[in-house]
């Protein structure tokens, strides 16, 4: 089956040359070079004047796992007000906008031109359930980052001054056991500290009982992830989320990585100064400066979008602090398996609220101040900053200065005054959008066959019909192909293939299993033999596994 | 124009826009409602130094009040919403909240609402409670004899302050008797108060003073004891003048009150009263002009 997407403007962030007007050819599930043997296309898609890009990749979106399900539970209004009927015999129904059900998540992402989504906060002990849940997220490829750095085993080994090699083996074992694609650390040490009743944790403050510091945890994990060769660097949610003045913590976290690659996630929530009479200010420029100076650092923004949403986080310490912001006033906190935690707080961001308005400007400042689109990714930390359905609007804010300024005029006047956003003239080009939503995430995640349109790539292709309203254009692309199958047209789902589960399987010395086994035997309520996902479990759940290669290394990036 | 032998000068009273509200204060007995009303509307003759002008509009029977107890209707006037808000908070807080058995309600349903109970509730130190019944919201503030109930907000209207007329006569005794007749009749009306002592002012004031910092001073043109040395407005036989000042919820109420007062002052005149006039500033300052001849036509 050969498909020709004819007449579009190809915008491939991974290619050095500028945008080209040419046909794109797909054979089965791959992009191919234009046939030279004169074979005709089996079908031709008229994409005249359309913008043709690779399928978009969301590097950080909470789409599955126990806390996502708790988020759904806590959002009855979202599900009541956003019913989604079955749109075809082969499709499934669902509900929700901020905490959509799984089928709805997959369909909505695909209809927006996204073909891969990564769940960034899988609790290790919840891995099996998370993957079973992701099996019901159709169309898109998905993967999950396992959360480490608050697991008691690792903290105890770090406290016992374990060698880096042992840490590396443990991390690799854990990634295999949980079928993870990357490693995340959330509030390093802080979730464990909260279980010992510590309400905050500074980066050089010892974790209660263990004595190790967040700085040490970040250093050990960043190095481990790099040395075992996981493509995506350690994915870091810093300490002190949401606290005024936390920019210092964020900058210290960059230093803690000691030059190893790290990815700082939802940095908007970590770019706060404490200036001004309200003691809350933007420190976006300092973060942007640090990103420019540290090539080992990438970020995603975690833009907030005004409206009601649900915040879902492994960071129980921060979420417990935020409970007073709950709207409606109901929240959940959970300590999980000597391993992690989760906290749920419904939230309503208001443009009339000074803090929320300033958060909004800080996110946009970060986008506009970080110059290298390869190292800043478009996220709202769905749903924490706002639902992924708001991405089209966010793209418009980045590409359309006059719209941005119209929105800026609506927000709390003191926040508007405090922000430097008004003076920023930058408008993202479509090529930059393609990099930050496709080529960049693909490179960061080691997805060599995705995020670009070169022959050989997986045929995840999106054709956007040009529209002066960029948001409208990105909301419902004219054509979306997933692995060569047209899955969506003008916002409507046509087909629902299941997508793959992306993972990496770093190698490790099996000696580590003996230690971990003893820990499980002595302390845990699940046995060592039953903790890892067994071979075939993902297949039984209907998931097709796609493994990305590791590149182990002993040196720094 | 001559009314009962009194010359009505062809002039006008010049009045100003104010903000006003009506409160209903109830208590266990009419006596305690009256005590609360007198106290809350005391020291409220002129906005110049009292912050507000206030007075008792009328007594209310138990059937007329929200809680079925005897009460009293009070009117408050101030120069702005903020001034009125502050005056209400201070006066109700000090004079009604403190008074045994009272409760306080809005007596006006129209207009933009001003906070009252919602400001006073903090006296409850966390033990206050709101209660909404129908479309009204009340605050219940625990006090030593039970609860002080006060409506959350009160209505407020654009009103008219400074309606007036002056009674010119031969003797103090005669002029005072005429003014008393006027006030007695005017007090039967709804929507107006005469904020000066007993409803009557002797200190007709003019704008400005020869002394720095004084915004108003004695109205020398109407002071009989110095009429020989000032540019007097008094005919030679006038040796006493009193003024009645009226604040009302609207222009019609003020006009009606002036007409009622002037007629009552003139009625039964035994030659003591010579003339009725009114105070104005040449029509330059106040938007409301009450022409005496038109009111009495």
């Amino acid at each position: 089956m050969i498909t020709r997407i004819a007449g579009g403007r190809i915008i491939d962030g991974a290619e050095d040359e500028g945008d080209a007007k040419r046909d794109l050819w797909i054979e089965d599930d791959r992009i191919v070079a234009a046939p030279t043997d004169g074979r005709p296309a089996d079908r031709t898609i008229d994409a005249t004047e359309h913008l043709v890009m690779a399928g978009a990749i969301d590097i950080h979106s909470h789409i599955a796992g126990g806390k996502v399900n708790l988020g759904r539970l806590l959002s009855p209004a979202d599900h009541r007000e956003n019913p989604v009927e079955r749109a075809g015999a082969a499709l499934r129904s669902g509900s929700g906008l901020t905490t959509p059900s799984t089928f709805t998540t997959g369909f909505r992402y695909a209809a927006m031109g996204y073909t891969a989504v990564f769940e960034p906060a899988m609790v290790a002990s919840n891995a099996r359930a998370t993957h079973l849940e992701m099996a019901d997220v159709p169309i898109v490829d998905k993967g999950a980052y396992v959360m480490l750095g608050n697991d008691e085993y690792l903290l105890r080994r770090l406290a016992a001054a374990a060698e880096q090699g042992e840490i590396n083996d443990y991390v690799a074992w854990m990634m295999q056991a949980t079928a993870a694609h990357a490693v995340k650390v959330v509030n390093p040490g802080g979730i464990s500290a909260f279980k010992f009743n510590a309400r905050g944790l500074e980066i050089d403050e010892p974790v209660p009982h263990h004595g190790v510091t967040p700085r040490r945890i970040v250093a050990a994990l960043a190095r481990a992830v790099h040395e075992i060769g996981v493509p995506h660097p350690l994915h870091v949610h810093c300490n002190n989320l949401g606290m005024p003045g936390n920019v210092e913590t964020t900058l210290a976290t960059i230093a803690a990585a000691e030059g190893y690659p790290i990815h700082l996630t939802h940095v908007q929530f970590h770019s706060y100064g404490s200036e001004g009479k309200r003691g809350f200010s933007s420190a976006a420029h300092r973060i942007a400066e640090a990103v420019a100076q540290n090539p080992n650092v990438s970020i995603d923004v975690g833009q907030i979008m005004f409206g009601a949403t649900m915040t879902e986080s492994g960071d129980t310490q921060a979420q417990f602090r935020n409970r007073s912001l709950a709207d409606p006033d109901t929240w959940i906190s959970m300590d999980i398996e000597c391993d992690g935690g989760c906290g749920l707080v419904p939230m309503r961001y208001r443009d009339s609220n000074f803090v929320n308005a300033l958060q909004w400007t800080i996110g946009l400042e970060l986008f506009l101040l970080v110059e290298d689109p390869w190292r800043v990714f478009l996220t709202t930390d769905h749903p924490n900053g706002g639902p992924f359905a708001s991405y089209p609007h966010l793209v418009r804010l980045l590409t359309d200065r006059s719209h941005r300024e119209d929105c800026l005029a609506q927000i709390h006047p003191a926040a508007r005054k405090a922000s430097t956003l008004a003076g920023m003239t930058r408008e993202y080009t479509m090529r930059e959008i393609a990099i930050m939503t496709r080529a960049g995430p693909a490179r960061s995640l080691g997805l060599s066959e995705r995020g670009h349109l070169a022959p050989g790539a997986v045929a995840d292709v999106v054709a956007y019909r040009p529209d002066s309203d960029v948001a409208a254009m990105f909301r419902a692309p004219a054509h979306v192909f997933k692995s060569g199958v047209e899955v969506a047209r003008d916002g409507a789902i046509l087909a629902a293939p299941s997508g793959t589960t992306q993972l990496v399987r770093p190698a490790y010395d099996r000696q580590v299993e003996r230690h971990v086994r003893r820990f499980f035997d002595d302390h845990m309520t699940i046995g060592f033999d039953h903790f890892p996902l067994a071979a075939g479990e993902l297949a039984d759940a209907g998931l097709a596994v796609a493994e990305q290669q590791c590149r182990p290394s002993a040196g720094r990036a | 124009m001559i009314l009962d032998g009194v010359e009505i000068e062809d002039t006008f009273a010049e009045a100003f826009g104010m903000r006003a509200t009506r409160l209903i204060v109830t208590a266990d007995t009419p006596r305690w409602a009256r005590i609360a009303g007198d106290t809350a509307t005391g020291f409220a003759t002129s906005v110049i130094a009292c912050g507000a002008e206030a007075g008792i509009e009328r007594d209310l029977s138990a059937e007329e009040t929200p809680d079925g107890r005897p009460g009293i209707a009070l009117l408050f006037f101030a120069v702005s919403r903020d001034a009125l808000t502050k005056a209400l908070r201070d006066r109700v807080g000090q004079c009604v909240l403190t008074c045994p058995g009272t409760a306080c309600y809005s007596g006006l349903d129209e207009g933009e609402r001003l906070p009252l109970g919602r400001s006073l509730r903090y006296f409850g130190d966390g033990y206050q409670a709101a209660k909404r019944l129908g479309d009204k919201r009340y605050w219940r503030i625990p006090v030593m004899d039970g609860e002080f109930v006060c409506e959350d907000t009160v209505g407020q209207v654009k009103a008219v302050g400074g309606g007036n007329f002056l009674i010119l006569g031969k003797t103090h005794r005669g002029v005072l008797a005429a003014a008393e007749r006027a006030v007695e009749q005017m007090r039967r009306l709804i929507g107006v108060i005469m904020p000066f002592p007993g409803g009557i002012a002797r200190s007709g004031s003019k704008i400005g003073s020869r002394y720095k910092g004084l915004v108003a001073s004695t109205n020398d043109a109407y002071c009989p004891t110095i009429k020989g040395i000032v540019k007097t407005a008094l005919p030679p036989s006038v040796d006493a003048v009193l003024e009645i000042v009226i604040d009302g919820l609207n222009e019609a109420a003020v006009g009606a009150a002036m007409a009622t007062g002037i007629r009552a002052a003139c009625a039964g005149n035994d030659g003591e009263i010579l003339r009725i006039t009114a105070g104005n500033y040449g029509g330059k300052l106040g938007p409301f002009h009450f022409r005496l001849h038109e009111l009495l036509a």
Partner: protein, 423 residues
Amino acid sequence: MSNGAQTQAQDAEGTGETIACPFCGLLCDDLPASGGKVETRDCPIAAAGFARGAAPRRSHMVGGRETDLAAAAAAAGAILAAARAPLFHGLTADLHGVRALLALAERVGGVVDHELSAGFLANVAVARASGWVTATFSEVANRADVILLVGADPVRDFPRFHERLVQNPTPLYRERPPFMAYLGAAGDAPSRDVVPLQATIGEGDLLPALGALAALLRERPVAREDSAIPIAALVDIAARLKAAHYGVIVWDVAALPQGHAELAVELIAAMLRHLNVATRCVGLPLGGSGNALGAVQATLWQTGWPLRVGFGEGAPLHDPWRYDGTRMLAAGEADALVWVAALGTAPPPASSVPVIAIVADDVALPTPAAVEIRVGIPGLDHAGEAIRGDTVVAMNLVAAIPSDRPSVAAAATAILEALRPVA
């Protein structure tokens, strides 16, 4: 170096193969198993559960006649296709089974409920509308220094509760066994050797007693004249919880007094929210037998709603009253019943509607079902996945005594396939 995750058991230091027991929400995974024999470690529920494997084999039936799965599925499909309000109830299946049943229910516009939902929906109602603080089994086993049991001794429904979650010989973060307290009816009380501090109350007094405890924790006045409420013991419990480093309040929602469960949980949740302002105290809402929490989780992720979901309106709708399966049957609102009992053994409730029984061999049907599909038990006849009573850990169930009985997922999928030709 190797790809270690795929290796099973048999490590040099391993203790031999163990399997998980699917028959209560604890999902204890330390039962030694070999050659089709499972050692049930003195657990009566596990013993009874694994003994079910010996039940005589029964055939699939349609209209009282033996048939094969395909024919039974076709007959079931015909009933469901004609039904206006088909009810899927019982639902004691593993996660794959629940996922497949949800797909089928959506396809035929049905209503989905679970036989234990009355209990866990009380927990769900409080969790989502009021919020709480909870923890999972391993946190409790390693941190708890004070444990308050509310309502009934958990051993009633979770026989190895004390052994697995309390009497941890090697806890990570406590120096001595946790101090145990109990608040509930005298008849449900655990032994005083196990739980020394007991505030026992009369029938129907759980709510006022919990209210008093919550007020004491807030240092608010408490009326002491009601002799039915043991205030002195509650004062002691309150002091222990406040002084605890990591207190735990445990309740088995199914064992709470009928009709009082939701408000009892509400008061417990209020205590948890309050206690965590100054110290740590977590709730442990026990439940999840019959994979009830797996059913809730899968329904939540597939539909956005917890159980008692209806697909009749197009998009899934949740209504704990309207889609209460037992109520619907009693009120004559359902016109077909799919009764699923794989992990559970309850027969379908009596009704006059055609019944499609997807049940294990030992489930006796008091009246013949229109369609009888005999399925295996996950974790016994075949592999499967189930979610533990702490809602976080999913357990891989292996086939302890493998058989070729079809799974619930296979049965549901066969029916779905039988429906396919219909658009």
